[in-house]
């Protein structure tokens, strides 16, 4: 178990829960309105899906890019710049929220009437829309806070916030829906955002908090944030457009009887949102490594994420292939003629889930690596163009089964097409992670569970390796070995009753050697030469700091990070 894997696995449950909660929150109003108010209310809520997707798009547009850029700047040890990004992220969230609010408020009447419905359904749409309006402002701000806390390593508070949002949204929506109908249900969404934001504020009072705001405003940074978010955030819009196209095509080709089966397929495709949890779990560490330029570690964390994506995709596909009835029960489909058709659809569509998991991972990863346009192209191709281009001809040729097969094939075709494009534009060596081989060769990484024996063994190993390497010299080798032993022993002493993991990386650049030590112990700044001296060891570390002027410390994503230029 490496330090990176340990951290990744700690983030993974909360990230997966957050994405699952997002999916459940999306479903909750349909379920509540459907059960309490019947078919008209359910139809009204479903018609609102493009509006909900637009608000989610605005929220992701501010939050995703801010968290990625924030982590990258922290990776570069640029805390002031990271805080500027965070501040601008908040401005961006407010501006996008205000813009979305204004647009949705101005065009509410006209847009609702363009849905082509009337009577109770139209009244329901208008009412839901009105009471959903506060979410246009609240959602971007709340999502920005969630992303920021997550980037700061507080997965627990994010899980709690989502739990609060899910529970608050469901409870308040249900209670208010009983009294005020669809308007009450819509108000519950705002309550969920307020509860989540309240929970997230707790993080700012924690000792481990490294988030902060500064006096800053830059429209150029807002543009960068939005550009960086585009790949991840546009998937909501692409998905909404795909579902609309799928509904229209299936109704035109096979008649309205197929709609319940399409609904089941949409539920399966919507489930893929959970796969975003893998990239979300990888993001805090990956962005820091990218900021540091530690491509060897980027490759390592990406391998873990690929393995988890593969396992998640394969397991979910196997589960749905074996038990398609799980999805049918969720949407309440039990008509004998439709059950077999829907079960077959679930089985076929689920074969594409492993591909979707990888597409989702690389969509986010390419964003972290500043290939936002490529990430955006992957979203557009995989979530809209490829399915559309495939299901129209296959549907015409093979009927319903052709459509489901097209949806299963789409992620693999998209991945292949984008991989071919990357190979053509940047060369085969760039595939799939855009890693710099020279940087990877210039980095060496060691993982360790702190203990006197392991620390001394590592110090000796590093010392011998450096002494044998051309251009380093015996003095630097010995100094590095000494610093490693003393620093790690100090960390161990400060966390006497805990099992501490550390990751040590050496980076060779020209004549210089950089040693970076990451540990998951209590927050402690090793690089502070004025720290209180309580032992001969801390005296030694303090003196070492005086002869190493180029040193930096930063607590990022819940771990200590100390870097020394030797």
């Amino acid at each position: 178990m490496t330090f990176a894997l340990d951290k990744f696995l700690r983030f993974l449950p909360s990230a997966t829960f957050v994405m699952a909660a997002e999916y459940l929150i999306g479903l909750s109003h349909s379920v509540i309105c459907g059960h309490l108010m019947g078919a008209d209310a359910l139809a009204a809520v479903n018609l609102m899906q493009p509006v909900l997707a637009a608000v989610a798009f605005c929220a992701l547009l501010a939050g995703t890019g801010t968290s990625v850029l924030y982590s990258v700047e922290m990776g570069r040890f640029e805390q002031r710049r990271a805080r500027e990004i965070l501040t601008q992220g908040l401005w961006t969230a407010c501006m996008l929220g205000a813009f979305a609010f204004a647009i949705l408020a101005l065009f509410r009447e006209r847009a609702a009437e363009s849905f082509g419905v009337s009577g109770a359904v139209l009244a329901g749409v208008k009412e839901y829309w009105l009471w959903f309006l506060p979410c246009a402002i609240l959602a971007p701000v709340e999502f920005l806070l969630t992303s920021a806390c997550y980037s700061d390593g507080d997965g627990r508070i994010c899980t709690l916030a989502y739990l609060g949002r899910l529970a608050g949204n469901c409870a308040v929506s249900y209670v208010l829906a009983l009294k005020y109908g669809i308007a009450g249900c819509a108000s519950g969404a705002a309550a969920g955002h307020i509860i989540a934001a309240g929970v997230l504020c707790i993080h700012f009072r924690k000792k481990t908090n490294s988030l902060g705001f500064v006096r800053y405003f830059s429209l150029a940074d807002s543009f960068r944030i939005c550009k960086c978010s585009m790949g991840d955030s546009s998937d909501k819009l692409c998905q909404a457009a795909l579902f609309l196209a799928l509904n229209l095509f299936c109704v035109a080709q096979f008649g309205p009887d197929v709609l319940p089966v399409v609904s089941v397929v949409i539920v399966v495709l919507g489930l893929t949102e959970v796969f975003d949890g893998v990239a979300k779990a990888m993001q805090p560490l990956a962005s820091v490594y990218i900021g540091e330029g530690s491509d060897r570690l980027v490759k390592r964390i990406l391998r873990y994420a690929e393995a988890v994506s593969g396992i998640e995709g394969a397991c979910l596909a196997a589960l749905l292939c074996a038990f398609p009835s799980l999805v049918l029960r969720l949407v309440g489909l039990d008509e004998p003629g439709l059950v077999e058709r829907a079960a077959l659809a679930v089985r076929i569509v689920s074969l594409g889930l492993a591909g979707t998991a990888f597409v989702s991972l690389f969509n986010s990863y390419w964003t972290f690596k500043s290939h936002e346009t490529l990430a955006c192209a992957l979203t557009l191709v995989s979530m809209f163009f490829a399915p559309l281009v495939l299901f129209v001809p296959l549907g015409c040729a093979f009927g319903e089964v052709g459509v489901w097969a097209a949806l299963a094939l789409a992620p693999y075709v998209s991945a292949g097409a984008l991989a071919a494009f990357v190979a053509w534009k940047w060369g085969v060596r760039a595939l799939p992670a855009f890693l710099d081989r020279a940087k990877m060769k210039a980095t060496r990484v060691y993982d360790i569970v702190l203990g006197p024996d392991s620390i001394c063994a590592l110090s000796e190993k590093v010392g011998k390796f450096l002494a044998a390497r051309r251009g380093i010299g015996e003095r630097k080798a010995s100094l590095t070995a000494l610093l490693l032993e003393e620093a790690l022993m100090v960390v161990m002493d400060r966390n006497a009753k805990r099992r501490i993991r550390a990751e040590v990386s050496l980076w060779f650049g020209g004549d210089s050697l950089q040693l970076t030590v990451r540990d998951d112990g209590a927050i402690f700044n090793l690089t502070d030469a004025d720290t209180k001296i309580s032992s001969l060891r801390s005296f030694m570390v303090s003196n070492l700091m005086l002869i190493l002027p180029a040193r930096r410390n930063m607590t990022t994503t819940g771990f200590n990070r100390n870097a020394f230029k030797i």
């Binding site: 010392g463 010995s478 003393e486 001969l536």
Partner: protein, 97 residues
């Protein structure tokens, strides 16, 4: 770490070989039984590396020798170990040949 100990007429010579670090320093500590020793020589010719754990042993030995009115000397100290002694100020009060 290997320690070769020679004692003759109140003179102790410890020839050290290998790293003096957190793990090996207790061996040095055990070897430094200084009862009745008037002159202590620590041969560092084959010591390429010493950490604060080694310094602690040297400090304890220095204090004992001072209390006994004896003398302690470090010989053949390598440049890397010398840098550690200089950095911590130990070279000011230790006798380094």
């Amino acid at each position: 770490m290997q320690i070769t100990k020679t004692i003759t007429d109140g003179k102790m010579i410890l020839a050290l070989e290998g790293r003096v670090d957190t793990v090996t320093a207790p061996e040095l500590e055990r070897a430094l039984q200084l009862d009745g020793v008037k002159e202590l020589t620590l041969d560092f010719a084959k010591v390429p590396y010493m950490s604060s754990a080694g310094l602690r042993c040297l400090l304890a030995a220095h204090k004992t020798m001072l209390a006994q009115g004896g003398r302690m000397q470090l010989t053949s100290v390598s440049p890397t170990v010398r840098e550690v002694l200089d950095m911590t100020g130990f070279s000011v009060f230790l006798d380094i040949a």
